[in-house]
């Protein structure tokens, strides 16, 4: 089958979306399909470019570009899903979040509001005409239902190099790998360090815009013996830090999917996340595969102390997490089967 995959692209910047897109095309090829990937530049920072790209994609007929027959079209991202195909499937990574749950009504101009309405109307219209809809996670499906009144089937995929995650003897630290962004809430964990009652420490891996701010905060709060920023780590180092951790903290608000949760589960480690985490809550169950707490420093500290005091509980939760991952049957082969079913 000749499958065309559409998505956005930011040249020379590799992120989770690229892994997702490349993982899908690789999996399709492995199943014997011919795959071509149509990626369009998406200029997040220039609102009028968003409008232009929406207009371009809307009704773009991809059945036979230049006479080349395409058997199936899989759209992943806004606004490429506006294209037309007789055998069109949606696997929604996320919508344009700034027009939805991340829309800042307080800061928005009238023009911003008008654009938001245009985007929402576009999504409702073009997504509605795709007969087979899947979403990256139940959270993404839920948002689609909430804002656009459309249903989609959640379809999970494995994180990069899933088979290489492993478990080793736990040391007394919580691990939190993520880009340093406001949305990921590294700050919450740093603030929690002041409320700890056990000797547990926090190791944060990653880099990003908020890192300098976090470093200042650590100094201000005097918790440098409790919180360490590791900076960028290699994939192997990341897996080793997972393997030896007591548990994993994953703090974002309303995350779409979150590879961190899956990676923690693959490493047989309990996940501490917050009640407003979004996607991760599909996988992290309180007292089953981790601890779900209020997004306050006190609650996070209490959860960390609980794992440190009761390593057996930490182990049991971690192992249940791994079992849950296995039970979910998350595999690329499955993804391809469902998408092309």
């Amino acid at each position: 089958m000749r499958v065309l995959v559409t998505a956005n692209v930011t040249p020379f910047l590799q992120g989770g979306a690229d892994y997702h897109i490349e993982g899908l095309t690789a999996a399709l090829r492995a199943q014997g399909h011919e795959v071509s990937c149509l990626r369009l530049p998406f200029n997040y920072h220039r609102p009028r470019d968003i409008d232009a790209l929406m207009t371009f994609c809307d009704g773009l007929d991809l059945n036979q570009p230049n006479g080349q027959r395409v058997d199936a079209l899989i759209s992943l991202q806004f606004p490429t899903y506006g294209a037309l195909h007789d055998n069109h499937r949606l696997w929604l990574m996320h919508q344009h979040r700034s027009a939805y749950e991340l829309f800042d009504a307080a800061e928005a101009s009238a023009e911003d509001e008008a654009r938001r309405d245009r985007i929402q109307a576009f999504d409702t219209r073009v997504l509605g005409r795709i007969p087979k809809r899947f979403a990256n996670s139940a959270r993404v499906a839920e948002r689609l239902h909430h804002y656009n009144g459309l249903e989609a089937e959640p379809l999970y995929h494995p994180p990069f190099a899933a088979e290489q995650f492993h478990c080793a003897e736990a040391e007394g630290y919580l691990f939190f790998p993520s880009r340093f962004e406001t949305l990921k809430r590294q700050e919450l964990l740093i603030r929690a360090a002041r409320h700890l009652q056990t000797s547990v420490v926090f190791l944060l891996a990653g880099d990003g815009g908020q890192r300098a701010r976090c470093e200042r905060l650590i100094a201000e709060l005097g918790v440098s013996q409790r919180v360490r920023l590791l900076g960028r780590v290699s994939e192997a180092e990341k897996r080793a830090f997972y393997a030896h951790s007591l548990g994993v903290f994953y703090g974002p608000r309303d995350e779409d999917y979150g590879y961190v949760t899956l990676e923690a589960m693959l490493s047989s480690k309990p996940v501490i996340c917050c009640t407003d985490a979004g996607g991760p809550l599909e996988l992290v169950r309180h007292q089953e595969t981790g601890l779900v707490v209020e997004p306050t420093p006190e609650a996070v500290a209490a959860a960390a102390d609980q794992l440190q005091r009761d390593p057996a509980l930490a182990r049991a939760l971690g192992e249940a997490g791994r079992q849950r991952y296995i039970d979910l049957g998350i595999a690329w082969a499955h993804v391809v089967r469902r998408l092309l079913a």
Partner: protein, 601 residues
């Protein structure tokens, strides 16, 4: 910190910890660059190989949440396979009655299968050596120090394992736990030595003692002997069952593999079809570009020829000035520039030679050129000519243009005549070389151009001239004349279009033929270029049997035109002295540079 830390007494050295973990990761192989199908290993093939990778693997197993997970893990870790139905069922029942996980680990580990598996790759599975379980040992020591008992420990582990119920002792393990198939074990009253088994996992050397103790105990209780024997034979039967189910499992695994291989093969076939399509596309592209390049090269060469002539004109007749010259040469290019362009084009052509077409031509020759024996018979005549002329020496060898399969070169070698061959078909050249002949892959014109004046005893070209555009043929023979020593022979052989069937039909068998050369035109051409005594030999008539019977004029004419000689040869020589008078002056009065440079004698 108002409350003492329960789990870890000494504060963590964070920097040392970070350094240690990073060092560990350094030895870990990093992920493959291609994210293809990552993660599928876990969820395919019955969640294969979840062998825990670390030294605490067994500790991890002991605290597995469910008995199911524990057994799955224990089998995979200690036997390297999934639990079989019979064994797993027995152990499941024993665990359900409060049996010890540690004991099951011990039994599996030191079973024949367990030993074999651990032994196969002892180095890579050192984590299976229970004696080297620092975690288990330290946990036990800590526990015993605090005044705990072994059975208490087992109970506690079990309690931890079976859920969030903290503390509490499990029922003490029953003796039936000793058997993988416990239901058939006679209900014995707990033997006094049984507790030793619980030590066994941490003290392997106790094994022989345990066996000794068991034997003694049974000797003291003869009534149990019989039961024991029955139990043992049952156990043997069970093991047979286990083996049968193992074979079954292997068979189904092989079946699954076969299906996978089949699918893989189908994909491979499809991929090859796609590639072969691509290849055809590139080939036709290549052929087109080669043709273009060849035409360009020919055009360049004839332009070069014109240039040479015009420069000769420039020098010779005094009345012709620069204006006349400019009218002849429209391109303001120097001879060197043209030569360079031609050379680079030739290089491109050489680099893009399509070996597949070459191979086709070899096969074509085999089919249509005639057998080597036939060809040899004809060519023996030319050997006689060469020997008669006595012009071939080691210093002035024969150069065969388009040497093909090398029959002629071979014959010359046998006759003791020095010869070299050139051909643009790599496959042909390689074949010649494999016979030990001196042949090289080169364009005929370039080969001649590279030679000094009067350096060859003979130039031969069998079935070559009909392949060449006229401008090239002209240049080629001009060069041949230049490089032949005085008295040297030119031997050409080509299809004879006097035979109507040749001219209208068989000539076109060969896709690389351009146009037939008639004997008349060929003779005129060589004479024009300064060769002397051109002799035409008509060769290879149809056999008599193919001719129309009869002697009359009409029959003769029909036979002559339809069944006459299919090829002809032209043998000419370079005069010992330059013969300017033989040149038929053309209307424009052109002459060749070759003649102009010929030393006057």
């Amino acid at each position: 910190m108002s409350q003492p830390d329960v789990a870890s007494h000494q504060p963590l050295d964070v920097d040392a910890l970070i350094a240690r973990i990073k060092a560990e990761a350094g030895t870990d192989q990093d992920a493959l660059p291609m994210p293809a199908l990552v993660g599928d290993a876990l969820n395919s093939a019955g969640q294969a190989d979840q062998r825990p990778a670390s030294a605490s693997a067994l500790g991890w197993l002991l605290s597995a949440l469910s008995d199911e997970a524990f057994l799955e893990g224990a089998y995979r870790t200690l036997l390297g396979r999934a639990p079989d139905a019979v064994g797993a069922d027995a152990y499941r029942r024993s665990l359900a009655r409060g049996g010890s996980r540690l004991l099951i680990l011990y039994i599996l580990r030191y079973s024949a299968e367990g030993r074999a598996w651990a032994g196969e790759a002892a180095a890579s599975r050192s984590h299976l050596n229970l004696l080297r379980q620092p975690m288990l040992l330290s946990r036990l020591r800590r526990y015993l120090k605090r005044g705990g008992t072994l059975s208490g420990l087992l109970g506690r582990m079990k309690a931890v394992a079976s859920g969030p119920v903290a503390g509490g002792l499990s029922p003490s393990p029953s003796p039936s736990l000793l058997s993988p198939n416990s239901t058939q074990r006679p209900q014995l009253k707990p033997a006094p030595w049984l507790w030793l088994y619980r030590l066994a996992p941490v003290k392997r050397p106790l094994g022989p003692f345990l066996r000794f103790a068991e034997r003694r105990y049974l000797r003291k209780h003869p009534e149990l002997y019989a039961q024991q024997a029955v139990w043992q034979s049952n156990q043997r039967i069970d093991q047979q069952h286990i083996r049968v189910s193992q074979v079954d499992e292997r068979v189904s695994r092989l079946k699954a593999e076969a299906v996978e291989t089949q699918t893989g093969l189908e994909h491979e076939v499809q991929r090859r079809e796609r590639l072969s399509k691509d290849l055809d596309f590139f080939r036709s592209d290549l052929i087109y570009h080669r043709q273009q390049a060849q035409e360009l090269l020919t055009a360049l060469r004839s332009a070069q020829g014109q240039r040479t002539q015009s420069s000769y004109h420039d020098q010779a007749p005094a009345h012709q000035g620069p204006t006349a010259r400019e009218s002849l040469v429209t391109e303001p290019l120097s001879n060197e520039a043209i030569a360079t362009a031609a050379a680079s084009l030739q290089a491109v052509l050489d680099a893009t030679v399509d070996d597949r077409l070459d191979a086709y031509y070899v096969a074509f020759e085999e089919e249509f050129r005639g057998s080597p024996e036939q060809i040899r018979a004809t060519q023996e005549g030319y050997v006689a000519d060469l020997l008669g002329a006595a012009v071939v020496t080691p210093e002035t060898p024969v150069l065969d243009l388009g040497c093909g399969r090398g029959e002629w070169l071979g014959l010359l070698a046998e006759s003791g005549l020095h010869a070299q061959g050139v051909d643009s078909n790599r496959v042909m050249v390689e074949r010649c070389r494999s016979y030990g002949l001196d042949a090289r892959c080169e364009d005929a014109l370039s080969a001649l151009q590279a030679l000094p004046d009067a350096s060859l005893g003979a130039v031969s070209a069998f079935h070559l001239i009909e392949h060449l555009p006229f401008a090239l043929l002209h240049a080629l023979l001009e060069q041949a004349h230049r490089v032949l020593c005085p008295g040297g022979l030119l031997i050409l052989e080509t299809p004879n279009p006097e035979n109507v069937l040749v001219g209208s039909h068989t000539f076109y068998h060969d896709p690389t033929h351009r146009n037939p050369m008639t004997p008349t035109a060929t003779r005129f051409l060589v004479r024009y270029l300064g060769f002397a005594d051109p002799e035409i030999r008509r060769l290879h008539p149809y056999p008599e049997s193919a001719k129309v019977p009869g002697q009359d004029a009409l029959t003769e004419r029909v036979n002559g035109h339809l069944c006459g000689p299919q090829d002809f040869a032209l043998i000419a020589r370079k005069p010992k002295r330059p013969v300017a008078a033989q040149r038929v002056p053309s209307s424009t009065g052109r002459a060749t540079a070759t003649d102009a440079t010929q030393p006057a004698a």
